[in-house]
């Protein structure tokens, strides 16, 4: 089994939140390339409801949690570059349900601007 890295999805009502700075909820999931995509509601994943909606607090959470990849919708340049500077991969402008996003992410094919609505 490959070593799992953590991915953080900014979500809103089970889909990627349209804006990083307005996300009130995050889903932290282990990502091991080649493994089956994790169940967002399973024990492997952790869902956090944030006390405050704030880009700064979100960035703080991301850096403290040891997250390797962030998947989000729209993100402001400053926060994008800050996370990149912290060597965190940011896949932004993504639209779609969290399960579809996890599936593409674990397959290693998720990219900026993907629209995963069916």
């Amino acid at each position: 089994m490959n070593a799992a890295k953590l991915a953080l999805l900014t979500v809103c009502r089970n889909e990627i939140a349209p804006r990083f700075d307005m996300a009130a909820e995050v889903l932290i999931a282990p990502m091991a390339p080649g493994d089956a995509p994790p169940d967002p509601d399973g024990n492997d994943c952790k869902r956090l409801v944030l006390a405050h909606i704030s880009s700064e607090e979100l960035c703080d959470l991301i850096t403290r949690s040891g997250v390797a990849t962030v998947v989000c919708g729209a993100i402001e340049e400053d926060y994008y570059h800050y996370l990149r500077w912290k060597r965190i991969d940011v896949i932004c402008d993504v639209m779609g349900h969290e399960s579809a996003v996890l599936e593409k992410l674990v397959s290693g094919v998720l990219k900026d601007g993907d629209r995963l609505y069916t």
Binding site: P18, R19, S54, A74, E76, M95, R115, L116, Y117
Partner: protein, 433 residues
């Protein structure tokens, strides 16, 4: 009413594309039907690939995500990866409805959107639901105006007018300003007290600017003499079965700071609601059945002694105790006279630049007169005095002649008399003229 067939579909799209402001047409299900070229240029999206996507993912405005305050309840709308056919029929019918001259109910608010280039753009979003003759909603027309230039201008004006910073070098003011970095980041409610003109509004705005909410709205509420029911709707918003949801000041301040300028002017019923908000963090708009949590920091102020207001029954004890988490007291200018000279120089520089004049400073007599005055109107009055002097003085040095005449006379109506020595000086100077 013009028949729908009189509109050439391609021409309609050409007209929309020629408009200088962004236009987004959204289906009743919340999917993008069409966006014009101005909006495509602003957001970075192309019109055709955006068609069929949920509007919140294309417009990406703050209000789309926080719960559309314009009455759009479309968050559950699912997008489609396959572009649907153009909603040709609905568009033509809608344009025919517009041409019939039927009035549209528009709602408008200031918000911001995030572009594909990751830039935050301040915009005004105006929202028109378009209905056919039977009242069925055909689509929603959103007009998006870029406010970047206006906001830049506003910032420059604020800087030029010295707003946004608290000035004072006295020990009392330094103690107060030293507290700001500690208080600002917390979300705790703040009560500011101080006489009129001491800078309560400025302090509230400074707290907002120094907080993590500084990029979010700062909404100031002046309690006007409206009936209590209207004030409740003004503050908490209202909704009804036949009317679209109207955001209140709380919704407008979402994520930011709500500043109530004179807390004791609020009716007691409203004070109870505010106390409940501070307890639970949620509000109930008028006519709504479900509470919302607006995430707003509450800053309030009064120019009277809050203990006295409580005893008089003008301020609810419950609210006072909840607001009193952080209580900042702005000292009157007469208790920090060491600031006067600094403030005089600061405002003289400011008004010299505004009136395009050059001053070396105040004469000794003028400085003595100004230093001895009691400033019942505090910093605001000092600022007005300097503005008046800078306006009428045509010399390099501002002398007593250029100061307002009332400085030399006792101010019995305010209960604060000017010192007699200063009055004599003023009179003496006048006699020499």
């Amino acid at each position: 009413m013009a028949p729908a067939s009189s509109f050439a579909f391609a021409d309609i799209l050409k007209v929309l594309d020629a408009l200088p402001m962004g236009v987004l047409m959204v289906s009743p299900e919340g999917k993008v039907m069409h966006m014009n070229q101005s909006l495509a240029a602003l957001t970075g999206f192309n019109s055709d690939p955006a068609r069929g996507l949920p509007c919140r993912h294309v417009l990406r405005s703050r209000c789309c995500v926080a719960g559309c305050e314009l009455g759009c309840r479309l968050f559950d709308a699912k997008g489609s990866t396959t572009p649907p056919p153009l909603w040709r029929e609905e568009l033509e019918q809608g344009l025919a409805a517009l041409a019939s001259g039927r009035p549209l109910a528009a709602a408008s608010l200031e918000t911001d959107l995030l572009t594909l280039k990751k830039r935050k753009v301040p915009v005004r979003l105006t929202h028109f639901p378009v209905h056919d003759a039977s009242g069925r909603e055909l689509f929603r027309l959103d007009i998006i105006e870029d406010l970047t230039e206006l906001k830049n201008l506003e910032t420059r004006l604020h800087q030029a007018h010295g707003h946004g910073k608290i000035i004072g070098r006295s020990a009392a003011m330094e103690r107060l300003t030293a507290l700001i970095p500690n208080i600002a980041p917390s979300g705790a409610p703040v009560l500011i007290t101080g006489e009129t003109g001491t800078g309560k509004d400025l302090l509230a705005e400074t707290l907002h600017q120094a907080s993590q909410r500084s990029r979010e709205p700062f909404i100031r509420v002046n309690v006007s003499p409206l009936p209590e029911e209207m004030l409740v709707a003004e503050l908490f918003g209202h909704t009804g079965p036949d009317t679209p949801e109207q955001p209140g000041r709380f919704q407008q301040a979402s994520g930011g700071t709500l500043y109530i300028a004179e807390i004791a002017d609020l009716p007691k019923g409203l004070q109870t609601r505010l106390a409940a908000y501070l307890d639970t963090g949620s509000i109930l708009p008028v006519g709504a059945t479900r509470e919302t949590r607006p995430n707003v920091r509450l800053v309030t102020a009064t120019n009277r002694d809050p203990d006295h207001l409580v005893r008089q029954g003008l301020l609810s004890r419950d609210l006072f105790h909840r607001l009193n988490t952080v209580h900042l007291i702005l000292p009157p200018l007469r208790e920090r006279k060491e600031d006067i000279d600094f403030l005089l120089r600061h405002y003289l520089e400011l008004f010299a630049a505004r009136f395009k004049k050059q001053f070396t400073g105040f004469s000794g007599a003028a400085r003595d007169l100004l230093a001895g005055y009691n400033y019942p109107g505090n910093v605001r009055e000092l600022k007005n005095i300097v503005e008046y002097a800078a306006m009428i003085c045509n010399c390099a040095e501002i002398d007593v002649d250029s100061l307002p005449a009332h400085l030399g006379t006792p101010l019995s109506e305010t209960g604060v008399d000017a010192e007699p020595r200063q009055g004599k000086q003023r009179k003496g100077k006048k006699t020499t003229l």
